[in-house]
Symmetry: C2
């Protein structure tokens, strides 16, 4: 049997349902589902994602039989609607929309009013008795079709529209009358002719075919590719095409269109939340060209419609057991649903909705935990504006995506990306954003737009990204070309000036404002409590100071997975003692300098161990190459020489002698400890003196000494011998015992490969996946910027391997390391302390390979906790699914 | 039953034999064997290596029961010799010598005349009736015992000896009479008292115990450790102790001692070859303090002894089926054998002796192949003095170790090692060498000594190292302190002056002389022919020019395993085109520059492919980072800017932009090809145009294109697609087909780990073990000099992993890579092109893991061929041994 490429829905029954998202796309599957639920949905059909995949496989040819199926379904739709496509008397008009498995705002979305031409418009006028409506539809059709199918600029037409409004002395397009719109249509067609050198397509079937092709092609446009990359959507999925009979929100003042959420997508409160516009088509609401009305006002304006809408949205939420994002059109007082989908929400709302729905009995705790994406928490966990800060609010817009952001103002996506490349914090300010801006929005700390509502592009995308956004800020006028914006109060903010955004209040604040961490209690704590019940992985934090350690503990860290001692070496005048040590020619001189460092290190360790009382603290011995501690600039060298009382020449010679071609692979890590055992000795003494002093106070402290950059078991054996010797010595001196372990970072590929040998000495492994990625991939993180973007663009790599662990290669080294390590020491404690430890997908991997814990930066601890719970729950889901098959 | 720690030999039978080397040490096992062969050997016993190992395990205590066994055996020896140890009337004297499994000249060797004291000497005088002999023996004993057991300086005593000779107006120690020697003994004892603050030990049992301890301890002295490192001798083996009744070569003019080889150890000729000294003990011959007589003269001096010696040496060679190095002593006209062992020989002699012995029917071809150590060939394959060169011979010494060497003169081991560290070629010049000089001898290109014979320390060690040596050059006087030597002709050569040594003729030549390659025919060709029959591994060469390719082919290379195309990029004015390409901002500019390079690359490839007609040639696409092609020095930058007609600032900016923190892990290898596909395209075109032109001439050429630094299969897939496209295009243009393959280097750890995926694209793998070691070990070769020596010294690493492949780690990555690669492509061609390809132990590894070939520098091709044969033959030996067990 030939493959079925088209699925029909209409008249209360549909060939598909909500479970068929892979085949029908998200939008399509839900249209079928709603039809089956007897919700009023205009009839139509869905061309499957498989058809799209085949289209690409066949070098951009429709799969065999597809077009025939499309024509059959079109005929069926004609019969259902009692109108014929292209009929000069009573033309059926359709909408054509793309719809992938998951919503992709960066893609070509919609062509409305398809089927109109110079002949069928007469039929539409006659049938509707509304010439204004017909020409309004035609001008819309030409604009959208030209934009998304013919590749012209929307601006080309908006220019003419604006001119016409000026000419007619009106402000809104709804104020243009039929003759003005008719003239506009003629101008539009002329503009198409002028730009393309050919007429606007008049054949409805040709329009239809071109629109289908455009949807298929949109799957591979650069915006869609960028979006897929940002959201890890496989390129092989393809998009479905939804064809639906048109219903018209622009038929006059008893018609309209709107979008709404079944709960507040920003705050998560259980209230109907949305906007609508009368006498408009859907695009008007989303584009933000007219400011829409709040959904509540519909209750008064059209009570019956509102009541029906209320019943439907409540039913949909109960049916889907999740917050829905819906689109509707009112045609002459009659309600039609055009879309329902799981609504995007802020992290804050996600947590609240998930916890509320458990309380409401809609979902269970596991589902609630799975409802919040770990990476979303990043948003919640980032600083908010300090309530005690004095702020100068210069404008106010819509609180489109909460959180706060401080940065320099930029006016284009390119500038934002350039800023990111220079590690600058920037705020992207635009009149309104479009899918072209996605890269820049990603790069910016926050987004400010002058136009658009809570469901405008900027707002939706920013919420998806968990990024602070103030949208529709009518108080400002943006002059992108000039690089400035001006507030209604007359304040000018130029490119490079600092502003602060409060995405929760919509305030735009001049200058840099202090930010603080929000309280992590209430629903958040409830949800995290559930997550903690489900997860198997422990979560520790990477922290180098007592302060960070306390923050980490507040965030739920169950220990310190990495305390980098070198950070302590740089602080204040300690670096002088370090430099003295480096410059000492003899062991004795080095020991003298180290003796100065000992009390400082000891105080640091004491602070951290105390903050983590009762929990393990992994302290890594000195890691970076010594040249990092010496100055490079000529004047700094002169200063230092004076300070140290050494000849400049001697200092320069030392710096030159320490120079390395590849410092990453040079004299660092345990190699320092092997060549200068006195450094390890000093550090071990500082650790155990700190621990013993606390132990004498009756505190339980658990230091774990970690030797970095071990590639050979004998390196570890030598360093361990030293640490154990000092530990035993110090404990004898203090007359107390502390629990401790000596282990190693696994960050050199050879260490993974020989982990069985290394585990004979190591009591724990901590995978340093930053360096393991650098060495395993042969990729210097500092230098990869020159080619890694090309690698991702050309599809060589799906992800930046420094963000998400490369499972096939580096991950395999981790797997081998764990397996081999446990083969000789079954109770080996295994964790990760690379930055991957805070990346949700990498955390899932760590769970799968059987680590004991992950360790990440304090602010990512809750993300890791949630990701660890997801890893367990997804495994259970998989087991259930396998059981069902 | 308790372990047996002591084995007796004497009176025509022995408890051990030659097969027991592991237990009795080489020297001991052969003493037992000779005893069993009824060869006259002074009786004695051997304390086993196990006793030594136990001694260390028990924290420097004798194992239980050992001392009792020693006493029993001493009593047995007393009975056999009819004399008692410490007997004031007729004292038994013994020698105590160390003896590991293999000969280790760096270790404590011998204490002779042990058992003498102020009382027993009277017995010796009485018994021998020779007071002079007795005091000569006593002064020797004090010197040796003080040196090797008490830790004093030999020089302390030699000073006194020299003073005594001056006082007596004699030149040789044999000219000192009894009373002078008696006085000397008194002075020696006083010197010991003065230096140690206690008397020279008088109790023979204490002497004995101290000597045994000293032998055990000598196993761990720094010289021995260095020697073991240089020769890869495990530290766990331990040494045996041989105790033998003394026979005396210093009993007068009918006594003497000598060392000899059963064939010429330098030239390999079948003739008895050795030296002896009358009225001397063994140390006198080896130390080179008196110049000994050639062995032939013994025939006249003592015909009966010579006849017996001849019979014994011939018997020993026939028995051992190998050239023997023997030591003997004549006591009052009676011959005693003190040692036989396999004689060290030059590479030249090793080849000749092996081939001769096959012709003589003594050994088979396999044994002959195994008789020549692959690394020895290095010696044969290195340049000799150009026979056409005009040389200024300033002195002549003994041709102690053949070959030629050019270098700057240095006068101490430290200077030699410092020179090596600066990559300077140095010649070590010493009056005579001692075991302390081993490191320096290793570092030097050649060794020149003023004193000592063909069996002096310098000569033996140099031959073992395959290093050019002129020994016993009486024409020169060395003033180490002044840093100069002066010839008898009055020429002064100072530190840093260049000299050339001819180790085959003994000539010392002023200045730098041109060297040439010897002919590789005759016995060498015969032996290599046998080796080729046995080996399974193919051997290719790394060559970048047609000239190198021809040299390689002459040396037996069966293809090119690595042709580095970047070398061609540096040559002459090509680098200008390369720089033009780098500086071009746009693709078009790069293509223009590449078009200039195309004909040059093509000509190179044509030359190499032609030289290797009929054999495969692996050509690697561009590998180094682009910044390597740009100048760094300010004036060069200015020059280039002028030349290229670009502003200096622009050039500097480009250089800065290309700077990398870790170039090893940066934008190089296939990453260049991915970001600049036009480079790969140009190179592919050059390769295939060259190949097609040759194919049109009817020549069979087999290019194999190798993509470097692949870490992910998709990198290779992209580059391969490009190469195949160009190859097919060019072949169409030329209307011919050439066989070709596209493969990859496996040099990134991730490539090994994902070799199964990579092999789906790669038609061959070539392991780039240089980079694989750098990345797998996290070790930058350029920077490792700062800590690798400490690593080897502290025993963390046994070998420099850049010389001999690290089997446990990097080797494991290779093994995994091969296994995974063949899992998806069973006929995958696998080779190695890192420098390990020319290291014998690494070649053995390559054989064991099932590679198809190794590739190395042209001059190492014969070494690899022989090593590959050894790998097979050793496997067979192992199988036979396992079968026997």
């Amino acid at each position: 049997m030939a493959k079925k490429y088209v699925y029909f829905f209409g008249d209360g029954s549909a060939e598909g349902d909500a479970r068929m998202k892979d085949l029908l796309g998200g939008k399509g599957a839900n249209l079928h589902e709603m039809t089956n639920l007897r919700i009023p949905v205009p009839g139509g059909f869905t061309i499957t994602t498989e058809a799209c995949v085949e289209y690409y496989k066949r070098d951009r040819q429709y799969p065999e039989g597809m077009w025939e199926e499309v024509e059959e379904n079109l005929a069926k739709l004609e019969r259902a609607m009692g109108a014929r496509f292209g009929d000069p008397k009573d033309p059926l008009l359709v909408s054509v929309r793309s719809g992938a498995r998951v919503s992709m705002p960066g893609m070509m979305d919609t062509v409305l009013n398809l089927g109109l031409n110079d002949v069928t418009i007469q039929g539409l006028i006659q049938k509707s008795g509304n010439e204004r409506f017909a020409y309004d539809s035609y001008r819309r059709f030409i604009t959208m079709f030209s934009d998304v199918v013919l590749g012209l600029e929307r601006l080309d037409f908006e220019e003419l529209l604006e001119a016409k409004k000026r000419e007619q002395g009106v402000k809104l397009d709804t104020e243009l009358d039929a003759s003005a719109l008719k003239e506009l249509v003629a101008q539009y067609k002329a503009r198409v002719r002028e730009k393309l050198g050919r007429e606007f397509p008049q054949d409805p079937k040709e329009q239809f075919r071109l629109a289908i092709n455009a949807v298929f092609e949109s799957w591979d446009n650069p915006r869609a590719i960028t979006y897929r990359k940002l959201h890890n959507i496989p390129g092989e999925w393809g998009t479905a095409v939804n064809v639906q009979a048109m219903v018209f929100g622009n038929l006059g003042e008893s018609s309209g269109t709107g979008v709404a959420f079944t709960r507040d997508p920003a705050a998560g409160e259980k209230r109907f939340f949305g906007e609508y516009l009368m006498n408009a088509q859907g695009e008007d609401v989303v584009a933000g060209t007219r400011t829409p009305q709040a959904i509540e006002t519909l209750k008064e304006a059209m009570p019956a419609v509102y009541e029906e809408l209320e019943e439907i949205y409540k039913g949909l939420e109960a049916h889907y057991r999740d917050m829905q994002d819906i689109e509707f059109t009112i045609q002459d007082g009659r309600l039609f649903m055009l879309q329902t989908r799981t609504g995007k929400r802020t992290a804050f709302a996600a947590v609240k909705i998930a916890v509320d729905m458990v309380r409401e009995g809609l979902i269970d705790e596991k589902t609630a935990v799975l409802r919040v994406e770990p990476h979303q928490l990043d948003h919640l966990l980032h600083p908010m504006i300090d309530p005690k800060a004095k702020v100068k609010v210069i404008a106010k817009g819509l609180p489109a995506s909460p959180g706060a952001a401080v940065g320099k103002v930029v006016f284009s996506a390119e500038e934002a990306e350039a800023g990111l490349a220079k590690a600058e914090k920037v705020i992207l300010v635009r009149t309104e954003t479009s899918p072209e801006d996605i890269g820049g929005m990603h790069a910016a700390k926050g987004i400010l737009t002058a136009r658009g509502g809570m469901t405008s592009h900027a707002a939706v995308v920013a919420r998806g990204m968990g990024k602070c956004c103030v949208a529709g800020c009518g108080d400002i006028t943006v002059f992108e070309g000039d690089g400035r914006f001006v507030t209604t109060k007359g304040i000018t903010v130029k490119r490079g000036d600092f502003i602060t955004l409060n995405g929760s209040s919509g305030e735009v604040i001049l200058g840099q404002v202090a930010l603080v961490q929000p309280e992590l209690s209430g629903d958040f704590a409830t949800l995290m409590g559930w997550a903690d019940q489900f997860r198997r992985l422990g979560v520790r934090a990477n922290a180098d100071t007592p302060k960070d350690a306390r923050v980490a503990r507040d965030f739920g860290a169950e220990g310190i997975g990495l305390c980098r001692t070198e950070h302590m070496f740089f602080e204040g005048d300690r670096v002088d003692a370090v430099r003295e040590m480096i410059l000492a020619a003899e062991l004795e001189g080095r020991k003298r300098a180290l003796a100065k460092l000992l009390p400082m290190q000891k105080a640091d360790f004491k602070g951290i161990l105390e903050a983590m009382e009762g929990l393990p603290v992994i302290i890594r011995t000195l890691d970076p190459p010594l040249h990092e501690f010496l100055p490079q600039k000529e004047e700094e060298v002169q200063d230092l020489a004076r300070k140290m009382g050494v000849p400049e020449e001697k200092l320069r010679a030392k710096i030159a002698a320490l120079h390395e071609f590849n410092p990453m692979l040079g004299h660092r890590g345990c190699r320092l400890g092997v060549t200068y055992p006195e450094i390890t000795e000093m550090q071990a003494r500082a650790i155990f003196e700190a621990a013993c002093e606390l132990a004498r106070e009756g505190k339980r402290v658990i230091p774990e000494v970690m030797i970095p950059l071990v590639g050979h078991v004998r390196e570890l054996a030598l360093q361990k011998e030293l640490v154990v010797k000092v530990a035993e010595e110090v404990m004898r001196e203090y007359g107390v015992r502390v629990e401790y372990m000596v282990g190693t970072m696994i960050e050199v590929p050879r260490a993974s490969i020989t982990a069985d040998e290394i585990a004979t000495e190591a009591e724990f492994f901590s995978f340093g996946t930053n360096d393991l990625t650098q060495m395993g991939f042969g990729l210097s993180r500092d230098d990869a910027g020159k080619f890694l973007p090309a690698y991702i663009e050309k599809g060589i790599l799906e992800d930046d391997p420094f963000i998400t662990i490369d499972r096939g290669g580096v991950g395999e080294l981790v797997r081998i390391g764990i397996e081999k390590g446990r083969s000789t020491r079954p109770d080996l404690e295994v964790g990760i302390c690379g930055e991957h430890g805070g990346d949700p997908r990498s955390v899932e991997f760590c769970h799968q390979v059987g680590m004991d814990y992950v360790s990440c930066s304090p602010y990512r601890v809750p993300i890791a906790r949630l990701a660890a719970a997801h890893a367990v729950l997804k495994e259970q889901v998989k087991i259930v699914e396998m059981g069902e098959k």
